[in-house]
C-alpha cells in the first residue's frame, strides 16, 4: 500500500497557504477543506472515477504556490486578449494582476479576495456550496487555498452580451495555482464568461481550478472554457453549476493543452424548466491525456439538457469521457440528449467513452449515443481527387470534425482564434497543403 506516501503528497501541496481572511466563515471553510485534504488521498486508477486516468506522474513532482506575481508586459499576453471583452481579470500563476485587468461590465467583476467582504451574504450563500470537496481531493485543495479568484455578480435583469474574460497565465516552472471562480447570476440576468488557461512556458506546473456558478430564476449564462495549458502541465478542474427555475446554462469547453487534464463538470437542474447545453472538444496528441467527466442532474420536472462531446486523438494520446445523465424520481418530462463522438487518428490513440443514463422517472425523453471511428474513406478520397495530399485531406477533415464544437462559442474573435489554433494543430504534420505527392 502506498496510502501513506500519497497522503503525504497532498500534505506537501498544502504548504504556502495564503494569509487568513478577516471573515471567520471563510477561514472556517478553508480549515474544513484542509481537514479533508488531510483525510483524502491522491486518486489512483483503482478508484472507479479515475479508472482510465493515471495521475501518478503528478505525484513524482513537487509544486509550490507562487509567492508574488511575476511582472508581465502586456505584449506577452496580447495574443490572448479578447477584443469584445467588457471586463477582464488576469491571474498570473494564480495571483491576481490588477494592472492587466479592467472592468467596464457595469457590475461586479473583481478579485474574489477583496470582493468577498462587500458581497459577504451572497458569497457565503454560494462559495463552497456547489463544488463539494468532502470526497474530492482536488476541490478540497483548491478550497484550502481559497484567496485570489474571480467574483462575478450579475444583478437582477442585467443582461450583458459582451464577454467577461478570465485569463489564467502560467509563467513559472513547478508552480501550483488554485484559480477560483464564483458566478452569481441573479434572476433574469444574462452573462458570458470565458475562462481561459494559457501558458508562457512549457515546463511542468499544476493548475487546480474550481468554478461555481449559481443561476437564479430565468438567468442565462454562457460559459466558455479554454484549456490551452503548456505541454507538461497538470490541469485539474471542478466546475459545479446550479440552475434555478427556467434558467439556462450553455457551456463550451475546449481542451487542447496539458500533459494530463481532468475536467469535472456537474450541472444540477435544481428547479423546474431549467435548460443546459454542455459541449466539449478535446484535441490531443503525443502522450497527452484529457479526461472529461460530466454529470447532468435532472432533479425536477421539465428540464432540458443537450450535450455534444468530441475527442480527436492522435499519437499515443488518450481521451476519457464519462458523461452521466441522472434523471431523478419526479423529474418528469425531462428531455435529454447526449452524443459522444470520437475520432482516432493513429493506431496508438485511445479513447474510453462511457455515456451513462440513470433514469428514475417514467415520463422522460432521453437519447444518447457514442461513436468511435476514423476518417471516412470517401471523404478523404473526395479531397484527394481535388489535389490535396493525403495528409492535407485528413487534416482538413479532422479540423472540420472539431469545428462543429468550436462554432458554438458565442464570442466571435475567440471562435476565430480557436479555429485557427485547431487548424494549426491538425496541420502540424503537414506544413504545406501542396506538400508531397
Amino acid at each position: 500500500m502506498n496510502t501513506a506516501a500519497t497522503t503525504s503528497y497532498l500534505d506537501s501541496l498544502l504548504q504556502g497557504q495564503p494569509p487568513a481572511s478577516p471573515l471567520s466563515w471563510l477561514n472556517q471553510l478553508r480549515a474544513n477543506a484542509v481537514d479533508r485534504v488531510g483525510a483524502l488521498t491522491v486518486p489512483t486508477t483503482r478508484d472507479e472515477d479515475w479508472r482510465f486516468t493515471d495521475i501518478s506522474p503528478l505525484t513524482k513532482l513537487s509544486f509550490q504556490p507562487a509567492q508574488g506575481a511575476a511582472q508581465l508586459a502586456a505584449a506577452q499576453f496580447e495574443q490572448w486578449s479578447i477584443a469584445e471583452a467588457a471586463a477582464r481579470l488576469v491571474f498570473v500563476d494564480g495571483i491576481y494582476a490588477p494592472q492587466h485587468s479592467f472592468n467596464h461590465a457595469g457590475f461586479t467583476v473583481e478579485n474574489l479576495a477583496t470582493g468577498v467582504a462587500p458581497h459577504d451574504t451572497a458569497v457565503q450563500a454560494h462559495l463552497g456550496r456547489h463544488a463539494a470537496f468532502e470526497r474530492n481531493a482536488f476541490a478540497a485543495l483548491n478550497t484550502a487555498f481559497l484567496h485570489d479568484g474571480a467574483l462575478i455578480v450579475v444583478p437582477r435583469d442585467m443582461a450583458l452580451a459582451a464577454p467577461v474574460h478570465l485569463l489564467f497565465i502560467a509563467t513559472r516552472k513547478h508552480a501550483a495555482s488554485y484559480p477560483r471562480c464564483l458566478v452569481i447570476a441573479e434572476s433574469g440576468s444574462a452573462v458570458t464568461v470565458v475562462e481561459d488557461f494559457v501558458s508562457l512556458q512549457n515546463e511542468a506546473y499544476f493548475t487546480n481550478a474550481v468554478t461555481e456558478m449559481a443561476l437564479a430564476g430565468n438567468a442565462e449564462v454562457h460559459h466558455v472554457r479554454v484549456q490551452r495549458d503548456g505541454a507538461e502541465a497538470f490541469h485539474f478542474a471542478n466546475c459545479a453549476v446550479s440552475l434555478a427555475q427556467a434558467s439556462r446554462y450553455h457551456s463550451v469547453s475546449v481542451a487542447l493543452g496539458a500533459r494530463i487534464s481532468r475536467h469535472n463538470l456537474n450541472v444540477l437542474l435544481a428547479a423546474e424548466g431549467a435548460e443546459c447545453s454542455i459541449d466539449g472538444l478535446a484535441l490531443i496528441d503525443g502522450a497527452q491525456l484529457a479526461d472529461t467527466h460530466t454529470l447532468i442532474d435532472h432533479a425536477l420536472p421539465q428540464g432540458v439538457s443537450r450535450q455534444l462531446h468530441k475527442c480527436i486523438v492522435d499519437g499515443a494520446a488518450r481521451a476519457v469521457f464519462n458523461g452521466n445523465i441522472m434523471v431523478r424520481a419526479g423529474a418528469q418530462r425531462t428531455d435529454s440528449s447526449q452524443s459522444s463522438r470520437n475520432l482516432l487518428l493513429s493506431g496508438k490513440a485511445r479513447v474510453d467513452t462511457k455515456p451513462q443514463l440513470e433514469i428514475f422517472a417514467d415520463d422522460v425523453k432521453c437519447a444518447h449515443g457514442a461513436t468511435v471511428g476514423q476518417l471516412d474513406v470517401d471523404e478523404v478520397f473526395y479531397l484527394k481527387s481535388r489535389g490535396l495530399s493525403d495528409t492535407a485531406a485528413r487534416n482538413l477533415l479532422t479540423y472540420a470534425f472539431g469545428a462543429e464544437v468550436i462554432e458554438r462559442i458565442p464570442v466571435a474573435s475567440l471562435r476565430k482564434r480557436l479555429e485557427q489554433a485547431v487548424m494549426a494543430q491538425t496541420q502540424s504534420a503537414a506544413p504545406s497543403a501542396a506538400g508531397q505527392t
Binding site: 481535388r386 489535389g387 472540420a400 470534425f401 462554432e407
Partner: protein, 264 residues
C-alpha cells in the same frame, strides 16, 4: 469536337478492376483525344461509375489487369492527388458534404494545391475571391455558396454546380463527369451543361458517364459508348444515344453476344 491530328489524352487497354474481390471491369478499352466529348452509357451495374472512380484512383477499387495511359504516362501508378494535379478531374455522382469547412476555403485550398503542383502561381484569399466569383457567374451561382460549408445542405443541383465550379477552377485536361445529370431539374441541367460546354476546348476532353440520353441534348458527344458487364460493347456517334433512348439497352447486349459468337 473531333480535331485532326489531336493528341491522345487517355488510352485504356484491357482494364480489369475488382472491388471486394468481385471483378467489375472486365476488359475495358477506350481512347480519348483532346477536344473530344465521349459519353459512356449503359444499364445500372454495367461498371460505368466504377470506371470513373478507377480513373480517379478510388482506394476501394483494385486494378487487376490492363493499363491506363494519360498523356503517355502510366496513370495507375499515380496517387489520386497526383492525378488531379496532372489534369484528371472526377465530377462526383454524390459529392461529399464537409460540415465545418467553408466552401471558399476548400475551393481555394484545392485551387492553390493544384496550381502549386503545376508550378503556377497561388492566389491569396482576396485574389481568389475575385477569381472564383467570376467563375461562379458561369454557373449562375449565388456568392452565398462561398460562405456555406462544403456541399452541406446543398440541393442536388447546387452540389452538381459546385462540382462543375471545381472543374472550372482546376482546368483539367480530362474531366470525367459521373452522372452529373442525375437529380437535376431542367433548369439546373441547362445551367450545368452550359457551364461544361463553355469549359470544353480543343486542348481538353470530357467523358460523360450517364444513364440517360437527356444530358446529351445539352452536351453533344462525339462518341457514344455502351457499357455492359464491365466493358464497352458498342461505340457510335451521337445518334446512338437517341437509339438507346428509343430502344433501351437490351438489344445492344444481344447484338454484342451474337457478334461474340460469330467471331469465335
Amino acid at each position: 469536337m473531333i480535331y485532326q491530328d489531336s493528341k491522345t489524352l487517355l488510352a485504356v487497354r484491357d482494364l480489369h478492376a475488382t472491388v471486394n474481390g468481385i471483378e467489375i471491369l472486365k476488359g475495358m478499352d477506350l481512347t480519348v483525344k483532346s477536344g473530344e466529348v465521349h459519353a459512356i452509357m449503359g444499364p445500372n451495374g454495367s461498371g460505368k461509375s466504377t470506371f470513373a472512380k478507377v480513373l480517379a484512383g478510388h482506394p476501394a477499387y483494385e486494378v487487376s489487369g490492363g493499363e491506363v495511359r494519360f498523356e503517355g504516362n502510366n496513370l495507375l501508378e499515380l496517387k489520386p492527388e497526383a492525378r488531379a494535379r496532372a489534369g484528371v478531374f472526377l465530377g462526383f455522382q454524390y459529392p461529399i458534404e464537409i460540415p465545418g469547412v467553408a466552401n471558399s476555403q476548400f475551393l481555394r485550398l484545392a485551387y492553390n494545391t493544384v496550381q502549386a503542383g503545376r508550378g503556377k502561381d497561388e492566389l491569396d484569399p482576396l485574389e481568389f475571391d475575385d477569381f472564383v466569383r467570376e467563375k461562379m457567374k458561369l454557373l449562375e451561382m449565388n456568392p452565398d455558396f462561398l460562405d456555406r460549408s462544403v456541399n452541406e445542405g446543398f440541393s442536388g443541383g447546387e452540389k452538381k454546380r459546385n462540382e462543375i465550379l471545381q472543374m472550372a477552377l482546376l482546368e483539367p485536361k480530362l474531366a470525367i463527369l459521373d452522372e452529373t445529370d442525375s437529380g437535376l431539374d431542367i433548369d439546373a441541367l441547362r445551367i450545368v451543361a452550359g457551364g461544361v460546354n463553355q469549359l470544353a476546348n480543343k486542348d481538353n476532353a470530357i467523358v460523360l458517364v450517364t444513364h440517360y440520353q437527356r444530358l446529351l441534348n445539352y452536351i453533344v458527344p462525339d462518341y457514344v459508348h455502351v457499357m455492359e458487364s464491365g466493358r464497352i460493347v458498342k461505340t457510335g456517334g451521337k445518334e446512338l444515344a437517341l437509339e438507346l433512348e428509343a430502344r433501351g439497352y437490351d438489344w445492344v447486349g444481344a447484338e454484342a453476344k451474337a457478334n461474340a459468337r460469330v467471331s469465335t
